[in-house]
């Protein structure tokens, strides 16, 4: 049994700590419940603040044509004594080298990796999303993520514990984690990716399915680890799809 001080200390270290004892305390202590709500609002603001804007196209700022302006700006700032450290020609040489490497990679990589492979690769970049928790993402944050894809998610989908608007194949797409009986499940709404039929995949520890959605691209649903079989994943995908209300 934990007391209020222990509960609040733990929350200050990790507001998303999934320890069931914390949930039990919160359910029985009104003051701590209010405290947790405030702290989670603060945490949500912190998460959004840390996500400073970066170039829309990953790697685009490495191309020489795009590097010219920032480099000049940086050099002039350095000359004016306002920047602590700039490494002019070295950065330019590195830019050209990286551009060559990227261009070479693009040339060598044809045909491109499959949609499923890209989805799995994207998962490696979001490990924090896989936490098992009963703490839902704040509603305004979820609505904000879903708005661009013109959809709403009904409560039958389950608790949405993570929602982010992610860069994927040149588009911003909703990346959600829904807590299910089988554990956390990742859902990516891919309105720009059409697939002719359902695709199942099992790669790098991820088991998933990409299902076509008439008029709205496709939906990718993934679980991590071997505990969930392919049939269950498909069942979860159907449930999530049923809970989606397309608004446009």
């Amino acid at each position: 049994m934990i007391d209020c001080t222990h509960y609040r200390r733990t929350l200050m270290v990790d507001p998303h700590d999934p320890d069931p004892a914390l949930g039990e305390h919160r359910a029985t202590c009104r003051d701590c419940n209010l405290y947790a709500q405030r702290l989670l609002r603060f945490e949500s603001r912190l998460e959004r603040a840390l996500r400073v804007p970066v170039p829309a196209q990953p790697g685009a700022d490495a191309l020489p044509s795009d590097r010219v302006v920032p480099l000049r700006r940086r050099l002039s700032r350095a000359a004016a004594g306002s920047a602590p450290y700039r490494k002019g020609w070295l950065a330019m040489a590195a830019s050209v080298l990286l551009a060559l490497v990227v261009a070479g990679g693009l040339w060598l990589s044809a045909p491109g990796p499959s949609l499923a492979a890209d989805v799995v690769t994207h998962m490696a970049g979001e490990p924090q999303a896989w936490k098992r928790t009963d703490v839902p993402v704040p509603t305004p944050e979820l609505l904000d993520v879903l708005r661009n894809s013109r959809l709403r998610l009904g409560s039958s989908a389950g608790v949405v514990s993570y929602a982010a608007s992610c860069e994927f194949r040149g588009h911003r797409v909703p990346h959600l984690v829904v807590q299910t009986d089988s554990g956390p499940v990742t859902v990516m709404v891919l309105v720009h990716e059409r697939v002719p039929k359902t695709v199942q995949f099992d790669e790098q520890g991820y088991r998933g399915v990409i299902v076509p959605v008439a008029g709205h691209g496709s939906l990718a649903v993934l679980t991590r680890g071997p505990s969930t079989d392919a049939k269950t994943v498909e069942h979860i995908a159907t449930r999530v799809l049923d809970s989606i209300d397309w608004t446009g």
């Binding site: 001080t5 609040r8 200390r9 200050m12 270290v13 990790d14 003051d31 405290y35 405030r38 603060f42 603001r45 912190l46 998460e47 959004r48 603040a49 840390l50 996500r51 400073v52 804007p53 970066v54 170039p55 990953p58 790697g59 700022d61 490495a62 920032p70 940086r74 700032r77 306002s82 920047a83 602590p84 450290y85 700039r86 490494k87 950065a91 590195a94 830019s95 080298l97 990286l98 490497v101 990227v102 990679g105 693009l106 060598l108 990589s109 491109g112 990796p113 492979a117 890209d118 690769t121 490696a124 970049g125 979001e126 490990p127 924090q128 999303a129 860069e167 994927f168 790098q204 520890g205």
Partner: protein, 175 residues
Amino acid sequence: MKDRIGGNQKRARFQALCQSLRPDLLRFAFWLSRDRALAEDVVQETMLRAWKAQDSLLDEAAAKPWFLTIIRREYARTFERKRFVTVDVDELVAREEPMLAVAEEQDLAEMRAALFKLPDEYREPLVLQVLMGLSTAEIARELDLSGAAVLTRLFRARKQLRALCGEDTSLDPQE
């Protein structure tokens, strides 16, 4: 021929991995250095080093900590190569104002300015936890600290940040 196709696919996967991680790596480098231009330089160098050393990444699931380690080393190298001028935090905030003020909401801009004022020893573990999704154990490994030290720093980071943001801290626990 088969080896070449396999090699090409491996390179393509690595490239896709770099692209998917790049936004968060840039953000991490930015919060580490509090300087967008320097962050871009560090990430660029990191990508080059990672490309050369890609064979040493045996498990793609471990890619993020792997990249973070390279970024932190690369950032440390910039200090070895050049003696930095001590800069006032308010000056740093003013210099990066275009970046910090991009926020649609004023409270995000305030939070970002507060993060700038947070000491490095508290800001770094907080960014690793909240932005990069690392567990306490992973942060401890990355920063070469004990688990208890990481917990203390995360606690102090949030406590200071809440105070800097003008939050009501009267109900916050004491250390």
